[in-house]
């Protein structure tokens, strides 16, 4: 049997991003390229201006909503499970459990299989399909929360904290900072699961994505605009982008109590830096145990780490007896939540 080509001969990071040589495409490139495969719609993965773009239908919709005419030259949708031949490789996408439309990219070349995870999580999320572990030879993982101090809480406990605070401080608006795509809609869904049926008020910047989620059949209940409120929303939940916390925008609210839903809220220094009163550890990324469990589950012999806290994860993977490599891709945000 001839020796297998090293993964580096057909998948390699360069200064545009991660390039698949025999397929002639990039995955989540940060610079403009001719052909891109996009894992999901967050802005540090789905950039504007590529020639041809391959992604799930939801991801393409999200890119059109965010980027308009700059979403890409030719947009091609691929459904979960469909197999596509691109050059000498086959490509298929499977759910990543990160946000609506998020996908892992499965690439096969000469009997070898590589999986690019994109961003993913294993915590349950009713707003998207759950992560599907795929057996492979090379697993390329994110490491946003790649330190053993990150162990996210069960979501219902965090939602319980928010509801308890609402009962203790009924005179204050609870302003929760959320990222507009994914976290916002997931938080609403979690509140509805917990039986919270009051209106959940939205900052204007959260409208487009929330409407899109609802158009895809995700039930989020009554989510009126803060701009349409007739009072200061004491005792109500208002969702806004994190940047609106403590900003002039929040002066329209009743003594706003600043909350923030993010995996970073695990670290007290981050909570203080942000001036957050009620931290909620709710994340759309895999925590440390999920990263390690997923790596084990894939059965991969080699692990590449794209972005985040790579050093600790590489160390832990090597301790598992596997080969590990930090890709140090440029262009990823330090805090992609």
């Amino acid at each position: 049997m001839p020796a297998m080509p090293a993964f580096e001969t057909w998948l390699r990071p360069d200064d545009h991003g991660l390039y698949c040589v025999p397929g002639d495409f990039y995955i989540d490139p940060h610079a403009v390229v001719a052909r891109a495969v996009i894992t999901h719609g967050h802005s540090d993965h789905a950039r504007a201006g590529h020639g041809a773009v391959l992604a799930t239908e939801e991801t393409l919709d999200i890119m059109r909503l965010r980027l308009g005419e700059f979403a890409g030259g030719q947009l091609q949708a691929i459904a979960y499970g469909d197999v596509l031949t691109m050059g000498d490789v086959t490509v298929r996408v499977v759910p990543a459990g990160h946000i609506l439309g998020s996908a892992q990219i499965v690439i096969e070349y000469r009997g070898r299989r590589a999986v690019v995870s994109g961003d993913y999580k294993r915590h349950p999320d009713v707003t998207c399909l759950p992560f599907e572990p795929i057996t492979c030879d090379l697993f390329i993982t994110e490491a946003t929360f790649g330190l053993p101090v990150f162990c996210h809480e069960p979501d219902h406990g965090e939602i319980g904290k928010l509801l308890a605070s609402l009962a203790a401080f009924p005179e204050r608006t609870h302003q929760v900072g959320v990222y507009s795509l994914g976290k916002c809609q997931r938080l609403i869904a979690l509140l509805r699961q917990a039986g919270y049926d009051r209106p959940i008020w939205l900052h204007g910047a959260l409208r487009a994505m929330t409407d899109y989620y609802m158009s895809r059949g995700i039930e989020l209940g009554h989510v009126p605009a803060v701009a349409a409120a007739t009072d200061m929303l004491a005792g109500e939940i208002v969702l806004s982008p994190p940047s609106a916390i403590g900003d002039r925008w929040s002066r329209r609210l009743a003594e706003p109590l600043a909350s923030f839903a993010s995996g970073w809220m695990r670290i007290r220094g981050r909570v203080r830096q942000r001036g957050v009163e009620l931290p909620l550890v709710i994340s759309d990324h895999a925590d440390w145990p999920e990263l390690l469990d997923t790596i084990r589950e894939t059965g991969a012999e080699e692990i590449w780490v794209t972005h985040g806290r790579e050093e600790a994860l590489v160390h832990a993977v090597e301790a598992m007896g596997l080969k590990a490599r930090a890709l140090a891709l440029v262009g990823r945000e330090d805090e992609p939540e």
Binding site: V149, E153, G246, E255, V271, A312
Partner: protein
Amino acid sequence: MKAFAELLDRLLYTPSRNGKLTLMTNYFRATPDPDRGYALAALTDGLPYAFPIRRIIVELAENRFDPELYRLSRDYVGDTAETLSLLWPKPANAGAPPRLAEIVERLKFIGRHQQAAELASWLDRLDVTGRWALLKFLSGAPRVGVSARLARLGVAQAFGRDVTEIEELWHGLEPPFLTLFSWLEGRTGLPEKSLTPVFRPLMLAHPLEDPDWEALNVAEFAVEWKWDGIRVQLSGRGGVTRLFSRTGDDVGGAFPDVIEGPAFDAVLDGELLVVRGGEVAPFGDLQQRLNRKTVARAMIEKYPAHVRLYDALELDGEDLRALPFVERRERLECWHRDRRPPRTDVSPQLSPASKDELREMWQGARHGGIEGLMLKRRLSPYLAGRPKGHWYKWKRAALTADCVLMYAQRGAGKRSSFYSDYTFGVWANGESGLALVPCGKAYSGFTDEELKELDRFVRQNTTERFGPVRAVEPKLVLEVAFDAIQKSGRHKAGLAMRFPRIARIRWDKPAEEADTLDHLMQIAE
């Protein structure tokens, strides 16, 4: 432990006083004895059992974690105890979380060699917030922005009582305060009086306003200097002497020179000062000795403490509080002449013959250690709290300086969207000519409307940002009022203002016409 951990966690992040009170009130109402009593102890005077938390944390961390992962985690989190609480794995069959009382009661008996194992078993049974709270709690003061006074106020509010009632009882009580809570819930009567020194809630003064001055009849008032120190209560009983702050905290540990004199049985009201050769030193000298648990001999010699007495609440077991002020004064003077306790004297009485003379005294009040006058109604009993119409404080007129706004910082709570904390400076001759030197910081004195205008000015004139702080173009003059100004090595300008606040915003005044450092140095004490 879960409820206590959640309380500490929320207190840490809640900036507003009312918010903290709400959290504590809910906790004290909902939590059973003896857990809430130990929580109260943790938030006030701390627990009596020392636990070598630092050594044990290091010991636990070294044995349990991959050293490389531990190092990376510790570097990232920045705090050892927090790192340990985050890294600690939860075993499958750890058992129910320990109660706070269970932990405290075990601490009494735990041997040195069992400490690490015991802590590990508690950590096993707690969630991440519980682990963090336990480590914080064992390290001594929880440091969640709650003073002992605020914690007592939380207990008082939880049961609809006045905090002075609790303060009066406080120093005869011990954790877990079963008799206190039982009385608060109406199950039993007042806890028994103690045989050790007690704190009696203080009588406080109102500022003298114009209408008060108009209505004032000099003959009805006793007059004293208002000393620039801190208000204290010197309390002796059963051979022990204690020094309490105005909120009933025992501050005697830092002032052995005051409490180590001969024993007496009395509760005395007075001003804590640094006095050298009969002269009252500036407030900055006293500050050197405040907020310490213990004090070195050298500090005592350099900054000798002294209590200037002005009232007696109890003498030799007799409660004098119902007597008129003049009678209490007379009893105090007699007692003091008789006992001559060291490091004390009696604040002299002034006797202005007329209102004009009184005003002259007030105007002349700008010298060593005096910040104005106290007017006390001759016939008033000693009333806890701040009753109207009995005592007035008449602070000397504030000093002012025209300063230039240099930096602004966002406030907290209701002010979190406003740049409401202002650093200002004055002109000084530097290496490269005239430059602004920061000389103080103020965050009060302006109206809500003015705050909006200042906030707008800061946003429109920002030159640089450093996190929550903005540097602004130096062009707005603030007229800053302050009670006193002293030379100080701690500040860049070499000056420290007392109670600086914004008196006026001088939108009209060009920055070049603001005051100079030389000018401030001249008026400094």
